[in-house]
């Protein structure tokens, strides 16, 4: 019998701890498929964040390191400098990458650090129970913005790809989403390119993936994907913000 669909080899048999409807599972799968397809799982070192994906080290079969909150790009830098021929990636959420780890993110990018960054943006702190993230939208209700994010006191959401696209060291900055099958396919292509760039020693590549958090958004999985489309896509337009291969729009 022909096998038409199976678990990627780069995922362990551990059961994901993610909530029902959370899109981390899809994104883990895409990263694992790319590690398999590019045949780099055996020389990959992944850096897990602090946040919902903190236990990513149990899910990927490659060597893994659990970094302090926000420091994954610095840890990845240390690994990559020590193992220049290895494949090093970070997997980070919005609080990790765009709040507490902003300096590490920006400077890894501006150094052109030859690493791959998978950035999951779900506009909220999931692990700690739904507080405002640096990417929470204006007016978004969270535990710490119970009356909606008021930009006059809580400021504006950070557009990470736009910001990093201004830096000379960034090779690829692309925003994708995983709310629909075509978008998932696009996301995988971007992730694959971000890893291929590292193999080709092109420099810092980041893929921002708009993701849903039904639990902390207080929505059903289906409603959450609708909310993502209606609210996140307009604020965070999908697309290639920088590509040193010249495909930026």
């Amino acid at each position: 019998m022909a096998i038409v669909f199976q678990k990627p080899k780069a995922l362990t048999d551990a059961v994901f701890h993610y909530c029902p409807g959370c899109t981390h599972g899809i994104i883990h799968r895409l990263v694992a498929e790319v590690l398999d397809e590019l045949q780099i799982e055996d020389k990959a070192v992944g850096i897990a964040p602090v946040g919902c994906a903190v236990m990513a080290y149990d899910y990927f079969t490659c060597d893994m390191i659990e970094a302090p909150h926000g420091r994954a790009p610095a840890v990845a830098t240390g690994v990559k400098r020590a193992l220049p021929d290895g494949v090093v990636f970070t997997y980070q959420g919005d609080g990790d990458l765009a709040a507490i780890g902003t300096a590490e993110t920006v400077h890894a990018a501006t150094r052109g650090e030859n690493i791959t960054v998978i950035f999951v943006n779900n506009a909220i702190y999931g692990m700690t129970g739904g507080q405002m993230a640096p990417t929470s939208l204006p007016g978004q209700i969270t535990q710490t913005t119970p009356y909606g994010r008021d930009t006059s006191t809580a400021g504006y959401p950070v557009r990470v790809c736009e910001m990093l696209s201004t830096l000379s060291g960034t090779a690829l900055a692309q925003r994708v989403a995983v709310d629909s099958v075509p978008h998932v396919k696009e996301a995988k292509k971007a992730i694959k390119k971000a890893f291929q760039n590292q193999i080709d020693k092109k420099g810092f590549s980041i893929v921002e993936i708009l993701s849903s958090c039904p639990t902390n958004w207080g929505l059903s999985p289906v409603e959450a994907l609708d909310w993502l489309r209606e609210n996140m896509l307009p604020y965070y337009p999908l697309g290639v913000y920088k590509d040193i291969d010249g495909e930026a729009k």
Partner: protein
């Protein structure tokens, strides 16, 4: 050679090929030396965006099993404390150099020993220790750098060289030892499994309290082995001493001069110089407390190591303290005056 440069050269000879740092006085020459040398020998010198980033780069490079270090001075070490805790909690070896300056806050840039508590008891959150070495000469800066890398690897824990601005900036002749790097196997390293083994995980997260307790207990069992085997201490004139002065680092040099003057005046004074501050030479101090009549601890701080001396002496003799702080260096005459004051009471 300048202390900071000698230390950097020793680190390279000990097999360190990765240096991550952030500029701060008075450790500056360590970074400058590494910036010059590392590119010539195929190593990494990276000036990070912050001390926080630098220590996490150390964490990453240490995870691959390579010898790696960072150096800083007091305020910078505070920033590194998050990373130091994670490195200890992940059982990673590395070298951290603190060329101490006056504090708290931005403090000053003159020599100090006011980070003793931080280095030995609280270099980050959680239950853990670092190996802490306190050189008092430039030659010892060199020798202890080799020891620090070797023992960090052996016990899978961070090692710290706790120097001060005086040692960092001072020049003395040094000899580099013949036997240099002692690399060991690191089967736990995250280097890519190469299809040859299950994946390695470097991690400090254990959500089940019993698991975390087990792991911390295992680590503390290892600390007991360190305490049993790795204490370094120098004693002089302690056999017949009525008064034993305890001091480390550059302060011990000042104390030595004062003790020589005291001996010349007929006072029976000895010196104990802890070379490892953790593990602390508590047995040697306890033994001295059995035979002497009083102790004096001298530090460039308001009195930090004196707590450990008092614990070791365990009330058997009075333990006096003399210190200058904020970057003020005590003089041999001041120390001698303290010794004479105590001698007056002892006799």
């Amino acid at each position: 050679m300048k202390g900071n440069e000698a230390l950097a050269e020793a680190a390279i000879r000990a097999g360190c090929r990765h240096f991550f740092g952030y500029p701060i006085t008075p450790q500056t020459e360590v970074s400058a030396y590494m910036a010059k040398r590392m590119p010539k020998i195929g190593g990494t010198f990276l000036q990070a965006e912050s001390e926080v980033a630098a220590i996490n780069m150390v964490l990453g490079a240490a995870s691959t099993g390579k010898r790696v270090m960072t150096s800083s001075s007091s305020p910078g070490i505070s920033l590194k404390s998050e990373g130091i805790s994670y490195i200890a909690g992940s059982d990673l070896p590395c070298l951290i150099v603190n060329v101490m300056r006056g504090g708290p806050g931005l403090g000053g840039i003159q020599p100090s020993q006011a980070d003793y508590w931080q280095a030995t008891h609280a270099s980050g959150h959680g239950d853990f220790f670092n190996l802490v070495f306190a050189p008092s000469t430039i030659q010892e800066m060199v020798n202890l750098t080799f020891t620090a890398f070797d023992l960090a690897d052996k016990y899978r824990m961070p090692a710290m060289i706790l120097a001060d601005g005086m040692l960092g900036q001072m020049m003395e002749p040094v000899e580099f030892p013949e036997v240099q790097a002692h690399p060991i196997e690191k089967p736990w390293a995250t280097t890519g499994h190469g299809g040859k083994r299950p994946h390695n995980i470097v991690n400090s997260l254990y959500l089940k309290p019993e698991d975390l307790e087990d792991l911390v207990r295992q680590r503390f069992a290892r600390y007991e082995v360190v305490k049993e085997n790795e204490v370094l201490v120098e004693s002089q004139y302690t056999e017949d001493a009525d008064i034993v002065v305890v001091a480390y680092g550059a302060t011990a040099r000042i104390v030595n001069s004062a003790v020589k003057s005291a001996r010349a005046k007929g006072l029976k004074v000895g010196v104990i110089r802890p070379i490892t501050l953790w593990p602390f030479p508590e047995k040697v101090i306890a033994q001295a407390a059995d035979s002497c009549k009083a102790m004096l601890c001298v530090e460039m701080s308001m009195g930090q190591m004196v707590d450990d001396v008092r614990l070791a002496a365990n009330g058997k003799v009075p333990v006096h303290f003399f210190g200058r702080t904020g970057g003020v260096i005590p003089t041999p005459a001041e120390v001698l005056a303290e010794i004479e004051k105590i001698a007056g009471g002892v006799q």
